[in-house]
């Protein structure tokens, strides 16, 4: 059985689409539909051309980013939520919930409807974690809408989204949990991270073991405009908590880590038998395109720590989590993905599983 390899999700949007969005001033303008459709078709075609056995739609329709796509446009939100500072010096500001009730504006399965029309290989779908959206509830609370009720609504909406994706035929449903490291950055004591883990586990507990084998969780230090928001947090502090998540697949960034053996050693220590670890072997924030040989070597290195039958490869992060990020070109993204695919295959040959 070959070593599985999957993308994380986003691919930079075509400039034509970004220009049109800018011209409309509203990413949800119906006039943009043909452009979204064409971007999706083109992205899938190019992803399939890389040889990747599993693809995504490149999140071409996720307006305006991977974090808030499900609540963007809700009337009971305001844009003055908390601010995420990136190492490049810029910030991204999240939405704030202003009134009850908390409901998704859209579920990610609707992206599958479009992508399935063009895909010839299995499609995975990325969704935002409940822990990320939990930060929308304001510190001062909302009158008549207690925080407990918000948490309950949040869990139900998240469960609904994941189930709809599974039912539509998503090969995998990947929960984006980039706030893991961020949580440690905000609260070095680890309590906040534990709280996030608990919240995500509460959501995951609503699914069967079979479903959880089709659900994965992705963590990274964030990636926007070739920078991160929490790479300065020690990965080793985060990883033990990640393995407490009741999920069958973990997508962990590794290519951008400075001390990979240390990370791999930690993974080996906490890895559970029912989990598959997809390690990042290409770094989206790095403009340089990895060679397949480099990828192969990373895999072989990982295989020294992780059983091959539990080992997979992926990208460290999405190539464009925020739709207006043009720091990486589509061509670079596809080239990096091709390198991941080829390098993984090379490693599999070396390991005798190709």
């Amino acid at each position: 059985m070959p070593i599985p390899t999957e993308p994380i999700g986003s691919i930079p949007r075509p400039l034509k689409l970004l220009d049109a969005i800018g011209a409309c001033g509203d990413g949800m303008d119906p006039r943009l539909d043909p452009l979204y459709e064409e971007a999706t078709r083109d992205t899938i075609e190019k992803l399939e051309a890389t040889g990747s056995p599993v693809i995504t739609d490149g999140e071409q329709r996720k307006y305006h980013n991977f974090w808030t796509y499900s609540v963007q446009g809700l009337k009971n939100t305001s844009p003055d939520g908390f601010k995420i500072p990136f190492s490049a010096g810029h910030t991204r500001r999240m939405l704030r919930l202003t009134a009850e009730p908390f409901r998704y504006k859209r579920y990610a399965d609707q992206y599958l409807d479009s992508a399935l029309r063009y895909a010839h290989v299995p499609l995975k779908q990325a969704v935002i974690s409940p822990s990320a959206l939990s930060l929308m509830y304001p510190a001062e609370g909302i009158s008549g809408y207690p925080r407990e009720q918000f948490i309950e609504d949040l869990l139900r909406e998240h469960e609904t989204e994941v189930r709809r994706c599974l039912q539509k035929g998503a090969y995998k449903v990947q929960i984006d949990f980039t706030e893991g490291r961020l949580a440690l950055k905000i609260d070095p004591s680890g309590n906040l991270l534990s709280s996030f883990i608990d919240l995500n586990n509460l959501a995951l507990s609503r699914f069967s073991a079979a479903d959880r084998q089709r659900i994965g969780l992705h963590t990274c230090p964030g990636g926007d405009r070739d920078s991160t928001h929490s790479a300065d947090v020690d990965y080793v502090d985060l990883l033990p908590s990640l393995f407490e998540l009741n999920v069958g697949n973990l997508y962990i960034s590794l290519a951008g880590e400075r001390d990979r053996p240390r990370v791999l050693e930690t993974i080996r220590r906490y890895l559970r038998p029912d989990q598959t670890i997809f390690l990042g072997v290409v770094a989206p924030i790095d403009p340089r395109i990895e060679t397949p040989q480099e990828v192969r070597d990373q895999v072989l290195q990982a295989a020294e720590y992780i059983p091959v039958n539990q080992l997979g490869t992926t990208d460290d992060c999405g190539f464009s989590p925020f739709c207006d990020d043009t720091s990486t070109t589509r061509e670079t993204a596809f080239a990096k993905i091709r390198a991941r695919v080829l390098g993984t295959a090379l490693a599999a040959q070396v390991l005798g599983v190709g």
């Binding site: 908390f82 509830y137 304001p138 510190a139 925080r147 918000f150 949580a183 609260d187 507990s205």
Partner: protein, 684 residues
């Protein structure tokens, strides 16, 4: 504190507040999980109990059961299965269904077929299958299998085996019984219909199919009333079958009378029917059987009997009328003849009236006696060479008064050459006279009657045609029946008993011939055709020869008549004297003996019951002293039993006559040289 620091602090605050809520949510979830866990444990215990019950159920069933999965591994079985097929524990524990199938195949009569069928079932996976397996030791198993589904998915197959050896044997017996029952019902002459408890038809035997017009297959399941439609014979109203009452009452019900079955083709059949409940082994009523048969022929016979009885009553009434008619003129003529002032002409006229009426009565009585003799087979023909022309002349002479009275024209066509054949001329003339008289009666005045005769090598054919009222088509078959014409108003108006044609037919048939009636219908005349076989003249019998002799000219005889009834003696004496005989009358036995010696009679007529010496003694003494062997001793008595005759003959009488004496027969006997009855036993 900078703006960034404030925001970070705010975010931390939000996150930590959330953490508290998440913790509570987790604690709640854990409590729920605990509850769910306890519920699960309870469910597990219940499941374990259910599994145990299922196992016990499997073991308690009468069937042997084995369950296989999609890979044909045994996933379950019961002990009964192992016992039925003698499967070792080690083999079942190994779980290889194919190995077990091979073991079973070795025990059935057709192992190859068994294996092929199992493979077919496993490969095609039908929802259900049923097969009958015959084992080499004589047992018979029924094998059923069905798909085992779990959440709508085919996960295996359940095979069950049932020993149906006894059931099969019972089925064979039942089939044989049904066949026997079917053959029996098919072979009996009565119609049979069976129904269920709701009156729905379950079977018709062939007779019932033929009578109703419904096949058993068509009628099965239909309400009985639709197949067996019966009405009252007289009212035409629908009547119920006896099946309903039989089912309700639980006993045999017969509704025999006046029922008509309306067949499917519209035909009507008079029937008698009855029904009885069918009971099963427990005594409960499981249906009804109805038996019915065609009684049309019997109903016709009963109707014919009633008709004959009616005609007999009418005949008796007519007879009484016909016999009473002559009495009035006789009584009145007698009164006139005895009247002191009656002239000789009036007395002669009276005597003529009396004579005519007596002759009329005699003819009536002769006809009655003749028809009686024919019916009883005692009339004996005196066959002799007979000339057809003479016979026709005699018949015409007899019928002439009736023909002339109605001013009919009679034409006669007979062959020029003489046509002689063997027949009783008197009876032939009587027969022809009856036919001619019949023609005259039933032809309006001034009609035409045509008599033609012809001879063929084998027969003589006589035709009598008239222009009369004719005979309807439905009456034709009955014209020769006794009393057939009695009811006819025309006949009554003409007088007579209406037995003329019956008598003619009897006489023709006594001659070995046939008589036919033809008519084109009412108002279109009639024709009677008489065909007589031409017997060779040499076949005339001894009796016939005697009859020929009797036809010789009258010879005067001396007759001694002894009777203590003076009126009877005198009237008989006068009758004999009118025929030219010399008669001496005495009134007791001794006087008879005395006169016998002096008178030297040819014939002695002796009453039996006389004073002094009775007839037997007188006859005995006369016999002992008879001077001439040729004298005839004739007993005339009211005693008519066979032993009376025997006693008379023992006493020496030659003949025996029963009162009232038929004068004609007595005269014929006195004229003839007939041998004594005590030798020839001629009956009178």
């Amino acid at each position: 504190m900078s703006s960034d620091q404030r925001e970070e602090e705010l975010l931390r605050s939000v996150a930590l507040e959330n953490a508290k809520s998440i913790l509570r949510a987790r604690q709640r979830a854990e409590r729920e999980l605990l509850v769910a866990k306890e519920a699960l444990e309870q469910k597990t215990r219940e499941l374990a109990r259910s599994l145990a019950l299922l196992g016990a159920t499997l073991e308690s069933t009468f069937d042997g059961i084995v369950v296989t999965d999609g890979e044909r591994r045994v996933t379950g079985f019961n002990e009964k299965y192992l016992r039925m097929w003698n499967i070792p524990r080690a083999i079942i524990d190994a779980g290889e269904h194919r190995r077990i199938v091979e073991l079973c195949a070795a025990q059935v009569c057709d192992a190859q077929r068994y294996l092929a069928r199992v493979e077919e079932i496993c490969s095609t996976s039908p929802a259900e299958s049923t097969d009958v397996l015959e084992l080499t030791d004589g047992r018979v198993y029924e094998r059923c299998s069905s798909v085992q589904s779990l959440e709508g998915r085919n996960v295996g197959r359940v095979w069950s085996f049932r020993d149906i050896t006894e059931q099969k044997r019972a089925e064979v017996e039942l089939r044989q019984q049904r066949e026997w029952f079917k053959v029996t019902l098919a072979s009996i002459g009565d119609a049979v219909i069976t129904t269920d408890t709701h009156g729905k038809v379950t079977f018709l035997n062939p007779v019932a199919e033929k009578m109703t017009g419904w096949s058993s297959a068509e009628a099965t399941g239909m309400p009985l009333e639709a197949v067996f439609h019966i009405v009252n014979e007289y009212t035409g109203e629908r009547v119920g079958s006896p099946v309903g009452p039989a089912l309700r009452q639980g006993s045999v019900v017969g509704l025999a009378n006046h029922t008509v079955l309306l067949a499917r083709n519209g035909g009507e059949i008079a029937i008698e029917d009855s029904a009885a409940p069918i009971r099963d082994a427990s005594g409960a009523i499981s249906g009804a059987v109805m038996v019915f048969h065609d009684v049309t022929a019997r109903r016709r016979a009963e109707a014919a009997l009633r008709d004959a009885d009616r005609r007999k009553d009418e005949f008796l009434a007519t007879l009484a009328h016909e016999l009473r008619n002559p009495l009035a003129p006789i009584r009145q003529a007698t009164f006139i003849a005895k009247a002191a002032g009656a002239s000789e002409a009036q007395k002669r006229w009276s005597h003529d009236v009396i004579d005519r009426q007596v002759r009329h009565m005699s003819l009536l009585l002769d006809d009655l006696l003749d028809i009686s003799r024919i019916t009883r087979g005692t009339l004996v023909l005196r066959l002799q060479p007979t000339d057809l022309a003479s016979t026709i002349d005699a018949a015409v002479e007899t019928s002439r008064p009736m023909i002339d009275a109605k001013r009919h024209t009679l034409s006669i066509e007979i062959p020029d050459e003489p046509l002689r054949f063997s027949a009783d001329p008197l009876r032939m003339a009587q027969m022809l006279s009856n036919v001619l008289t019949n023609a005259a009666k039933y032809t309006d005045p001034e009609g035409h009657i045509r008599l033609t005769a012809s001879g063929a090598p084998e027969e003589v054919i006589i035709r009598v045609a008239d222009t009369g009222i004719g005979i309807s088509e439905d009456a034709l078959p009955r014209v020769f029946e006794m009393f057939a014409q009695v009811s006819s108003a025309r006949d009554r108006s003409e007088g007579g008993l209406g037995i003329g044609l019956a008598l003619a037919k009897g006489l023709v048939e006594l001659h070995g011939g046939k008589i036919e009636a033809h008519s084109a219908g009412l108002g279109r005349g009639s024709e009677f055709i008489i065909r007589l076989p031409k017997k060779p003249l040499a076949q005339v019998s001894q009796v016939d020869a005697a009859a020929v002799q009797a036809a010789r000219p009258l010879v005067s005889r001396r007759v001694l008549l002894a009777d203590d009834n003076r009126d009877s003696a005198q009237t008989l004496a006068e009758l004999l004297r009118l025929e030219g005989h010399a008669v001496t009358v005495v009134h007791d036995g001794p006087e008879a003996l005395a006169v016998f010696a002096e008178f030297n009679p040819h014939v002695v007529l002796l009453d039996i019951g006389m004073p002094g010496l009775d007839g037997y003694d007188v006859a005995r003494r006369m016999h002992e002293s008879r001077p001439r062997p040729g004298v005839k001793l004739i007993a005339i008595t009211g005693w008519a039993q066979e032993h009376d005759k025997t006693r008379a003959f023992s006493a020496g009488f030659d003949h025996h006559f029963t009162k009232p004496v038929d004068p004609q027969q007595l005269l014929e006997l006195i004229q003839s040289d007939t041998p004594p009855d005590n030798l020839a036993r001629d009956s009178h």
